[in-house]
C-alpha cells in the first residue's frame, strides 16, 4: 500500500472511532437520563428496624403511590439497603432543567425522602439546617445557588 493511502485509511478509521465515541457518550448520557434508576441509602440498622411490620419510614410513606421501594440486607453486616424510585415519567430536555430548577424532579423528592428516612431511623429525628441568617436574596442568576440546588436535591425547608 502506498503511504498516502495508508494515511487516509488510518485517518478514516480514527475519524470513525472519534465519531463513534462522541456518539456513544452522548447516547449514553441520554439513555442514562431516561432510565429510572433506583436511589439507595444504606441504613446502619437491621431490616426489621428499618421497616417495622413492613411499614415504610415516614418520609417515604409520604410519597405514597408515586414510588416503588426495595429493601435488602447490606453485605458485611452493614445494615439495610433501602431503595426507592419514582413511577412517574422522568422529565427530559428543557422540561427536565425546568423541573430540577423548580425542585419538581421526582428524583429529588425520592432522594430527599431517603436521606430523611435514614437520618430518622439512625438518629431518631430528621436533622434540620439552620434558618439562613440574612434573608437578603442572592443576586439573580448567581451560579453557585443554582448549582447547589440542582446538585443536592434538597431545599432548605
Amino acid at each position: 500500500m502506498k503511504r498516502g493511502a495508508l494515511a487516509a485509511v488510518t485517518l478514516g478509521a480514527l475519524g470513525a472511532a472519534v465519531t463513534h465515541r462522541l456518539w456513544s457518550s452522548r447516547e449514553r448520557a441520554r439513555a442514562e437520563r431516561r432510565r429510572i434508576r433506583w436511589q439507595v441509602v444504606t441504613i446502619n440498622r437491621r431490616p426489621e428496624e428499618v421497616m417495622p411490620e413492613g411499614r415504610l419510614p415516614e418520609p417515604l410513606a409520604r410519597l405514597g403511590e408515586s414510588i416503588e421501594v426495595q429493601v435488602r440486607d447490606a453485605p458485611g453486616g452493614r445494615g439495610t439497603e433501602l431503595g426507592a424510585r419514582p413511577h412517574a415519567r422522568i422529565p427530559s430536555g428543557v422540561e427536565e432543567v425546568m423541573a430540577r430548577l423548580g425542585g419538581e424532579d421526582p428524583r429529588q423528592a425520592v432522594r430527599r425522602a431517603l436521606r430523611e428516612s435514614k437520618c430518622l431511623i439512625e438518629t431518631g429525628e430528621v436533622l434540620r439546617a439552620d434558618e439562613p441568617a440574612a434573608r437578603r436574596p442572592a443576586p439573580i442568576g448567581r451560579p453557585p445557588a443554582v448549582a447547589a440546588r440542582r446538585a443536592g436535591g434538597e431545599e432548605r425547608r
Binding site: 444504606t42 446502619n44 452493614r78 445494615g79 436521606r115 435514614k118 437520618c119 439512625e122 438518629t123 431518631g124 429525628e125 430528621v126 436533622l127 434540620r128 439546617a129 439552620d130 434558618e131 439562613p132 441568617a133 440574612a134 434573608r135 437578603r136 442572592a138 448567581r142 453557585p144 445557588a145 448549582a147 447547589a148 440546588r149 446538585a151 443536592g152 436535591g153 434538597e154 431545599e155 432548605r156
Partner: protein, 391 residues
C-alpha cells in the same frame, strides 16, 4: 444577635442577624465566649472557595457556654462550659460508629449535599452554611449546635479557655494527620506549614512517640514559635532545598510520615519562580500543590503522606508515579474531632499539649474584619485572630 457575615469577595461585616433557635431535640444553643480564624477560611475570603452566599455567618472554631438544650440532650445542661467540634457528627451512622466523624452520613441536610460533588456524602460543618450542610458559624454571639451530646465537650476545670478553644478544630486536625498518617514510636515526622494546624500536628506526632519532628515554613516568627512552644526542629524553606535537607537530617532515608498542613495557598519553594506574567496566565493556584509534591518527594520509600490542606478542585502536576514506585501511602481527611477531643483536653489539663500561644491577636467580634485581614496577610506575626463576642 451580632455575627460576622460574608458579604462578598474580601468583604466581611458584623451584622445583626436573628438569634438561633432549637430546631431539633438534640440541639443545644451555645453562647460563644471565644472563636478563632482558620486557614480554611482564606479561600472563602477570596470568594473563589466553595459556594458562599452573602449573609453567611462564618467561623467554625469556638468555645462557649450552653444556654439552652433540646429535650433529647443528655450530657449537657445550661451553664456547661464547652468546646464544640467544628465538624458535625451524629454518632450513630456507620462512619461515626467507626470514629470517622467527618464522614458522618447524617449531618449534611442542607443544599448542595456533598455526595454529588465528591461521589460520597461527607459531614456537615459550622461556618459554611451554603456548602457544608446549612449551619451558621461560630463568629457570633450564639450558635445552634446540632447533635450536642456528640459534638460539644465539657472543658475540664484545670484547662484554660484559650487552650481549650483549639480543641475545636486546629488540635484535632493536627492529631488526625499524625494519627491517621500512622506515626509510630521512634518515627521521624516532617510537617509542612507552621500555622496552628501544622504546629499542632507536630505536637501530636511527638505525643504519639515520634523521635524527631521537623516542621517547615517561611515565616521566622512561626518557625520560632514552633521551636519554642512545640519543641520541633524547623526548616525555613526559603533558605533550603527541603527534600535535600530532610534527606541529610534523616540518614538519607527521608521522614517516615509527612504531614501537609499548608493548603491551596501554598507558596512555591526553592525552585525559581515563574515570571509574574506567566503565573497570571496560568491563574492563581495553578501550582498550589507545591507542599504536597515536596512531601511525596521527600517521604521515605514505603512511608506515608497525609494531606490536611483543604483543596477545593482538581489538581494537576501531581507526582502520581512516585506513589507507586516508592510504595507510598497517600491519605487525607477532614478532622475526626469527636474521636480525639476528650484526649486532647486531658493532655491540655496535664500541660502536655499547649495551644494558647497560637492566639496572637485577641479582639472583640466587632473587630473581626480587621482580625481576618491580619490573619490573611499574616501581618504583625498573626497566627490566629481570636474574637470575644461578649467583650
Amino acid at each position: 444577635m451580632k455575627a460576622l457575615c460574608w458579604r462578598g469577595p474580601g468583604e466581611l461585616s458584623v451584622d445583626r442577624v436573628p438569634d438561633p433557635r432549637i430546631l431539633n431535640d438534640q440541639d443545644a444553643i451555645v453562647k460563644v465566649t471565644l472563636s478563632a480564624t482558620c486557614g480554611s477560611d482564606l479561600d472563602l475570603l477570596g470568594g473563589h472557595g466553595p459556594a458562599v452566599r452573602p449573609g453567611d455567618v462564618i467561623g467554625h472554631e469556638f468555645l462557649g457556654e450552653v444556654v439552652e438544650v433540646g429535650q433529647g440532650v443528655r450530657r449537657h445542661r445550661p451553664g456547661d462550659r464547652v468546646v464544640v467540634c467544628s465538624v458535625i457528627g451524629c454518632g450513630r451512622c456507620w462512619h461515626c460508629e467507626r470514629d470517622m466523624w467527618s464522614l458522618c452520613e447524617n449531618s449534611h441536610p442542607g443544599p448542595g449535599a456533598s455526595g454529588d460533588r465528591w461521589g460520597g456524602d461527607t459531614a456537615g460543618m459550622f461556618g459554611y452554611p451554603h456548602a457544608m450542610g446549612g449551619f451558621r458559624g461560630g463568629h457570633a454571639e450564639y450558635v445552634r449546635v446540632p447533635f450536642a451530646d456528640q459534638g460539644a465537650f465539657r472543658v475540664p476545670d484545670g484547662v484554660a479557655e484559650m487552650d481549650a478553644l483549639f480543641a475545636s478544630d486546629a488540635a484535632p486536625t493536627g492529631w488526625t494527620g499524625a494519627h491517621l498518617g500512622g506515626v509510630r514510636p521512634g518515627d521521624t515526622v516532617a510537617v509542612w506549614g507552621c500555622g496552628a494546624v501544622g504546629q499542632l500536628a507536630a505536637r501530636a506526632a511527638m505525643l504519639l512517640g515520634a523521635e524527631r519532628v521537623i516542621a517547615i515554613d517561611r515565616h521566622p516568627e512561626r518557625l520560632m514559635m514552633t521551636e519554642r512552644h512545640i519543641g520541633a526542629e524547623t526548616i525555613d524553606y526559603t533558605r533550603s532545598d527541603v527534600p535535600a535537607d530532610l534527606r541529610e537530617r534523616t540518614g538519607g532515608r527521608g521522614p517516615d510520615v509527612c504531614v501537609e498542613a499548608v493548603g491551596p495557598e501554598g507558596a512555591a519553594t526553592g525552585r525559581p519562580r515563574l515570571p509574574g506574567r506567566i503565573r497570571r496566565r496560568i491563574g492563581p493556584g495553578a501550582d498550589h500543590l507545591v507542599a504536597v509534591r515536596e512531601a511525596v518527594r521527600a517521604c521515605r520509600t514505603g512511608g506515608s503522606v497525609f494531606v490536611l490542606g483543604v483543596f477545593a478542585g482538581l489538581a494537576d502536576r501531581f507526582p502520581l508515579g512516585m506513589i507507586m514506585d516508592k510504595g507510598l501511602t497517600l491519605r487525607g481527611a477532614r478532622q475526626h474531632g469527636q474521636h480525639y477531643i476528650p484526649r486532647l483536653l486531658e493532655l491540655m489539663g496535664k500541660g502536655e499539649l499547649r495551644a494558647a500561644h497560637l492566639a496572637t491577636h485577641v479582639m472583640t467580634l466587632q473587630e473581626a474584619p480587621r482580625g481576618y485581614e491580619l490573619f490573611r496577610t499574616r501581618r504583625d506575626g498573626c497566627v490566629r485572630a481570636v474574637f470575644r463576642p461578649w467583650a
